[in-house]
Amino acid sequence: MRKMGALLLSAAMVLSLAACGGSGNQAGSSAAQTAETTAAGTTAGTTAGTTAGTLSVAIWDKNQEPGLTKILEDFTAETGIKAKIQVTPWEQYWTMLEAGATGGSLPDVFWMHSNEFSRYAEYEMLLDLNDRIAGSDKIELDKFPADIIDLYTWNDKQYAVPKDIDTIALWYNKTMFDEAGLSYPDASWTWDDFAEACQKLTKADGSQYGYSLKPSNNQDGWYNMVYDFGGEIISEDQKSSGFDKAGTIAAIEFVTDLVKQGYTPSYETMTENNPEALFEAGTVGMITMGSWMLPELCNNDYVKANGDIAVLPKGTETGRRSSIYNGLGWAAAVNTQMPEEAWSLIEYMGSQKAQQKQSDLGVVISAYEGTTDNWIATYPDFNLQAYLDMMGDMVIRPHSKTTVTWENMTSEKLVDAWTGARSVQDVCADIAEEMNSLLASE
């Protein structure tokens, strides 16, 4: 025991010389490290030992890493500037970024999202790209959706270059439809048709249900219905909540009715398992999913055998078939040590060539107009065209300066509506009130 203790201690001491001391350099020399700038603002390339002048690129979607790495290789070949991708999962990405912003050490280039953009822009954390874009011949702003451009504009200046867009579509289980004698969903479907199918797909023994949706599945779920029913989530000027509109309430009631009538699994089951999990387990016949979930679904054996994609149903009365969409942007840190190189990278990623390749590799639907023809071929067994068809009527994802706070509040409050504990009217009234006060304090 004594000897063991002594051995442990001495072994530990030897190793500690590497760990405890000089940990700052240690961090810098690990190959995949971001080019960290300390609060004292040392010059770039002092990250001991690494390839001096490698841009750090932060993203949150692991699925996109392989494709983006390939495009970055092209970039390096063309410009000689090196870049390295760092993936931090969505849940932690923003905490990571905020910590970097607070400490003065943001990654050089990183993804921006509508949820958080305004905060970063307002507090001047982003590099102003306006003049550079104007003077660039690779970036053609008019080829990107206007909404996305607006998303990343602050005080009339552009702070991020659009990267991609995502839409929402309907996934259905062909086998279950065949068994129930239903014809597959198509462009003629309304939400009423959808509800009817939910009923027909639900089996009395509880082994199969029509649909599953959590209150937190907003962009990929009930937000779409809200707009189809004539409601809205937030006003155009982002100053007032849309939860007191009749259309909004009707849409949410549509979903909670499905739950009430038993066409969805029990609320406990829905909350413990994501919709895609239930779809993959063969528990539900239909789910609504965003295009970012393609790698997960298309690579699943069960879905490969039984699933396919269709466009979302349209509003029964309005005839509207909307898809909430969002687009990421490439932004650079205001205090990056390599602004010109960072801009080079962003410019490249926004150019038609890179955008085309992004689609071709099946990474995501690129934002650049007309680059999507080859994207469909990424998963040939599935009807990816449905996602492209949904681009006909897109509503930008509702956002404001405090998006995350009111979105979370909304999901939490809606739990009562889903479980039937309170009426949808009451819950929506609460949400509207609280959201309005949040928006007023922005």
Binding site: L8, E91, A277
Partner: protein, 276 residues
Amino acid sequence: MSKKTAINRIIIHTVLILGCIVMIVPFAWMFLTAFKTSSEATQISPFVIFPTAFRLDAFKSVMSKMNFLLLYKNTMVLIIGRVICAVLTATMAGYALGRLNFMGKGLAFSLVLFQMMVPSQIFIIPQYLMVSKLGMLNTSFALIFPGLVTAFGTFLLRQAFMGLPGELEEAARLDGCNIFQTFLYVMAPLTKSSMVALGIFTALFGYKDLMWPLVVNIEQTTMPLSAALAKLQGQFTANYPELMAASLLACIPMIVIYIIFQKQFIEGIATSGGKL
């Protein structure tokens, strides 16, 4: 009399074994699920307990998505860093508080006691801001930071030193040692078992620390196992075999170390709680 004892024994063993089953079932379930396919894991009728074949797919998938060697290394760095710092600082402080006599000693010890009673969350944000301002987020230093000193360790070593015979210092002084030499050559070596106990205690709780690594938000390259596992739930939303495979890969090293050194582990924990 012995028949009654025999029946007693059987009852006791039965109870203990039932308890053991409860302890082990979750691990067994983790193990079995990791070898199933995603469909087998979510099948209800019929329910699948044993996988039809022991597939390594989940493991392969998870290992390609997470760099386990890197995670092990980061975790080791965290543990070893904290253990060194804890043992060094606590032994010195414990000696001072336990054997030396000087002004301010009482106050110092009260501060030590106080820290032990405070919920650790109260330190998180200020420590996070400190590390952030130093620009040391996402470094090994950040992982070790909260463990640079340990009130608990100080308390433990103080107890250990207080338990040593008083004549030792006299003898050392007669041999011509000053206070420092007395400490280094005579006193400290006698508290080895407490040091080991502290080391094990620190290692175990460093390994299990979740909120701090999660918050200091270590990037993939410097994340330890606990935080990496917590983040998994966001990445593999539906795939329980993969989640379980990752959990197994995270747990097995520590479990193996534990089984090999179980005597030291258990004695270490017992010592750390036993000397009051």
